[in-house]
């Protein structure tokens, strides 16, 4: 059975750390980073990248259009 795996790339400098993507993520992939970007925001990142299935819920709720989502089918 084919399984999907995903990954997200967050534009760290555009992210404002609003946390909406973290809450929207059904697979608990995302979290806010302890590090901050140049504006001082704790930007979002893949804390548990192995969980991501590329569902795009994070990019759907992102107000700053700073998330790109990738998905592949793996056997």
């Amino acid at each position: 059975m084919a399984k999907v795996r995903g990954a997200v790339v967050v534009d760290n400098e555009v992210c404002k750390g609003c946390n909406l993507c973290v809450v929207a993520c059904p697979s608990r992939t995302l979290a806010l980073n302890r590090d901050v970007n140049s504006k001082g925001y704790h930007y979002s990142y893949m804390e548990n990248p192995e969980n991501c299935n590329g569902c795009t819920n994070c990019s759907a709720v992102c107000p700053d259009s700073c998330i790109t989502v990738y998905r592949v089918k793996v056997e």
């Binding site: 404002k16 609003c18 946390n19 909406l20 759907a60 709720v61 107000p63 259009s65 990738y70």
Partner: protein
């Protein structure tokens, strides 16, 4: 770990993209506060315009309020209106260029307070425009004052003890009123607090633009939104507060879905 990093690198390839920012959304970092609904709705409008292939035929009308700078973010031609006058400006644009797509983008103060007359009469004329209405029950740009849609008891900087109906009157359900007008072809109320809601709102915006092409009358999309700075809540808590407090007052769904109600025949007979 290096194995995992390699796995991720294998996924992050252009051919595997399932969501990327629309090329119509430019690289300027939005001026909105973290978690602001405006950013989501801007993106949805940009995506709809891109998907319909109408970038070269669309003119947006931005309001006065937080979204005054909407013109910075979507790569289309824009016309920045005075406070509340966006429906009149959009009317002027559409009337001299009926073949173009014209949409206004307004907040609750702009659309439902200072611009109420322009809003009503544009819809009542059945202007073939799309009107996007962001209702977050507060004035964001000027620092969190009461809006016409502010809830009873809601604390704002001009209702510091909560909105009191004796002093301030009632929250205005302008969308319900507009749905009564024969010129309104499509009136819907949506939200963007989770992925499912965002996808529904995008469909509604797409439908609104398609109705414009069909010249059926005004297509009106309210988006019940958050203002975490104004509400003094985190973005996540704002969404909860919105679901608990805004949705009962402003229930989601289509208020009117049809063509212009020619059944409402007001012409003089005989």
């Amino acid at each position: 770990m290096p194995e995992l990093a390699q796995k991720i690198r294998d996924i992050i390839k252009p051919e595997n993209i399932v969501y990327a920012k629309s090329p119509l959304m430019n690289d300027d970092v939005m001026h909105y506060c973290p978690g602001c609904s405006h950013g989501v709705v801007h993106r949805l409008i940009g995506e709809v315009i891109e998907e319909m292939g109408i970038q070269d035929q669309t003119i947006g009308v931005s309001p006065v309020g937080c979204a005054v700078f909407a013109y910075k973010y979507i790569d289309i031609d824009w016309h920045e209106a005075a406070h509340g006058r966006a429906p009149a400006v959009a009317t002027g644009i559409k009337r001299v260029m009926p073949e173009k797509y014209v949409f206004s983008y307004q907040g609750d103060g702009d659309l439902a307070a200072i611009g109420t007359a322009e809003t009503f009469h544009a819809v009542n004329r059945g202007e073939n425009i799309v009107m996007i209405f962001i209702n977050n029950a507060i004035y964001g740009m000027t620092g969190g004052q009461m809006a016409p849609t502010t809830l009873v008891g809601q604390v704002t900087s001009t209702t510091p003890y909560g909105r009191n109906v004796d002093l301030n009157g009632y929250p205005l359900r302008i969308t319900e009123l507009l749905a009564q007008l024969p010129g309104a072809a499509y009136v819907t109320r949506q939200s963007v607090q989770n992925a499912a809601a965002v996808r529904k709102t995008k469909k509604a915006i797409r439908k609104a633009f398609e109705i414009q092409a069909m010249k059926k009358g005004t297509a009106f999309v309210e988006v019940v939104s958050t203002c975490s700075s104004g509400w003094k809540l985190s973005p996540v808590d704002s969404n909860k507060w919105m679901e608990e407090n805004m949705f009962p007052q402003y229930p989601l769904g289509d208020l009117k879905d049809g063509t212009r109600a020619d059944a409402n025949d007001y012409s003089i007979k005989g």
